[in-house]
């Protein structure tokens, strides 16, 4: 049903700038598979978190001072003096964690249900680009309060680039604008921390264009056969997304009001001191798995390459997974390796928070090997050898046609 209205003003505008028909088309009538599970809520949650970060961030920027002598004090000023400053800052700091929780779940949803497979490869790439931009944004945001973890996190992470052969040191000097992390670094990080979220908004828009081109995937991983397999986005999924949002905000509010500093590190309440490194520096929790990979390798360049490689490898995923069945639900062997992969990621996260020695180091090494083996060896081979379970004939069949229609054998590989 196309967009219709009797309001003459809306008609007048829409004839010249079709924003109303566009919104109608993509938020109301947009045909959506009727079998989406709650795992499909996390995309819209991520979008909401981006808005939360931008709104709270712009407010923080009205009270924050990007200078090494004032940054720490200005954040304390926000916490103590600014009306509701504590609330807005805690929303922003915990909001970053919530954003990552949501996006990580969103990504694992994609990994399990094969959302990266044809024809959604570009949609997947745009998602990986968003992840990289988010990581850069969150890293630079964490530097802004200019505490000990801010300073030493910035030092260690920017120094990663010194591993680049020949030009490494010049790159690091360029990033710092000096010979160590200092005022020029803080200033540019603030500028970029303000900019990048809006770049993310742009990439999210492309992400949605790519999504709407072929429509959402679904837990069965089969294409829609006709109109009987879809329902309009509104009211069905608007309501479901809003319900999920309510539940998620309860979770967010728990951290915000009962444990606002639990996800942060106490050392960041000590002002930055360029002459003393804290005994045990750790990044924010959402970087721990990558940090564990960095430290699992006893070689500087090797560690850096594997750390960046662990994300860049996601760009190759559509070709590394050779199975033609999308959904993990019909892939008995894949499923098992997938859950071990989830476990390996959690183990990396745990090991990343421990000192790099003994058992944690051993675990991070095993998990790193599994992480890469999963993509480079397991996925290509399993797709080849595995015999998938029979796929249902249509999205409606498992619900409506049970008994009437016999399950079809899995599509044979060409």
């Amino acid at each position: 049903m196309a967009f219709q209205t009797n309001n003459r003003i809306i008609k007048w505008i829409d004839y010249r700038l079709p924003v109303f028909s566009f919104a109608h088309h993509s938020l109301i009538e947009y045909p959506t598979p009727k079998n989406l599970s709650y795992w499909w809520n996390f995309g819209s949650l991520a979008g909401i978190m981006l808005v939360v970060q931008i709104v709270t961030g712009i407010v923080l920027a009205m009270h924050y001072t990007p200078h090494v002598d004032h940054a720490f004090a200005s954040v304390e000023h926000i916490m103590r003096n600014v009306n509701y400053g504590w609330l807005i800052r805690y929303m922003h700091a915990n909001g970053a964690s919530m954003f990552f929780i949501v996006v990580f779940i969103h990504i694992f949803r994609g990994l399990y249900y094969g959302s990266y497979k044809s024809p959604r490869e570009v949609l997947w790439f745009l998602g990986v680009i968003i992840l990289l931009l988010m990581m850069a944004t969150a890293f630079m945001g964490y530097v802004l309060p200019w505490g000990q973890m801010s300073f030493w996190g910035a030092t260690v992470i920017t120094n990663l680039f010194s591993a680049v052969p020949y030009v490494g040191d010049s790159i690091v000097t360029l990033l710092w604008g000096g010979f160590s992390v200092d005022n020029p670094t803080l200033n540019r990080f603030f500028s970029l921390h303000y900019l990048l979220p809006f770049v993310i908004v742009g990439v999210v828009a492309l992400h949605l264009v790519a999504l709407h081109q072929h429509g959402s995937g679904n837990p069965l991983g089969i294409d829609r056969k006709g109109p009987q397999d879809s329902i309009p986005f509104h009211p069905y999924y608007t309501v479901k997304d809003l319900f999920g949002l309510g539940v998620f905000f309860i979770f967010f509010a728990f951290w915000l009001f009962y444990a606002p500093n639990a996800l942060g590190h106490p050392d960041n309440y000590i002002p930055a001191n360029p002459l003393v490194t804290p005994a045990h520096i750790v990044p924010e929790w959402y970087f721990l798995p990558f940090y564990a990979i960095l430290r699992a390798v006893p070689d500087k360049l090797g560690g850096v390459v594997l750390m960046f490689g662990s994300i860049l490898i996601l760009f190759l995923l559509p070709w590394l997974d050779t199975s033609r069945v999308r959904s993990g639900r019909f892939r008995p062997i894949f499923k098992q390796f997938f859950w071990v992969f989830v476990l390996a990621c959690l183990a990396l996260g745990w090991a990343g928070a421990q000192p790099p020695e003994g058992l944690p180091l051993a675990i991070s090494r095993v998990a790193t090997v599994y992480y890469f083996a999963y993509f480079l060896v397991i996925l290509p081979l399993v797709g080849w050898f595995e015999r998938p379970r029979p796929l249902p004939a249509s999205i409606s069949e498992p619900v409506l046609g049970a008994g009437k229609m016999a399950a079809q054998p899995a599509r044979e590989k060409a």
């Binding site: 030092t155 010979f179 540019r188 490194t277 045990h280 390798v297 020695e357």
Partner: protein
Amino acid sequence: MSSTQVSGAHGGATRRDFLYVAAGAFGAVGAAAAVWPFIHQMNPSADVLALSSTEIDLSQIPEGMGITAVWRGKPVFVRHRSAKEIEEAQAVALADLPDPEPDAKRVQKPQWLIMVGVCTHLGCVPLGQQGDFGGWFCPCHGSHYDTSGRIRRGPAPKNLEVPPYTFIEENRIRIG
């Protein structure tokens, strides 16, 4: 330019191809020239570059002790080494070192070890008189340095850097 010659046989295309390539090349050079200021502005500014130097009075540092000075925003370790430390540093076989360098090349006077206190792995400040080699230990990712500040074990690839310094008096140095 080779395309000019190839298409030259067909007459009129020659000049067009040439203009096309020349215009493209000028455009590319112009764009690069316009981009450079926007990259170079990120490099250290004139005031940061203005060579700062630091003077240190060594007479206050007894044997077996050290101080941490600041030079260009970085910590500099100044250590008055004991005879034992010097002996250990000189006794190491070069073949045992990941970044081979004799102790004599790292000091001007054996009792004074002066180096930038920044781990060559990812830039933390190592802790003095710790680790398995009696020198420095970096807690960030576990690099061990010896009594000459040379890397012995761990992820750091290089020895601690020795900054340029001169003895301006018997017991006074200028770094930088």
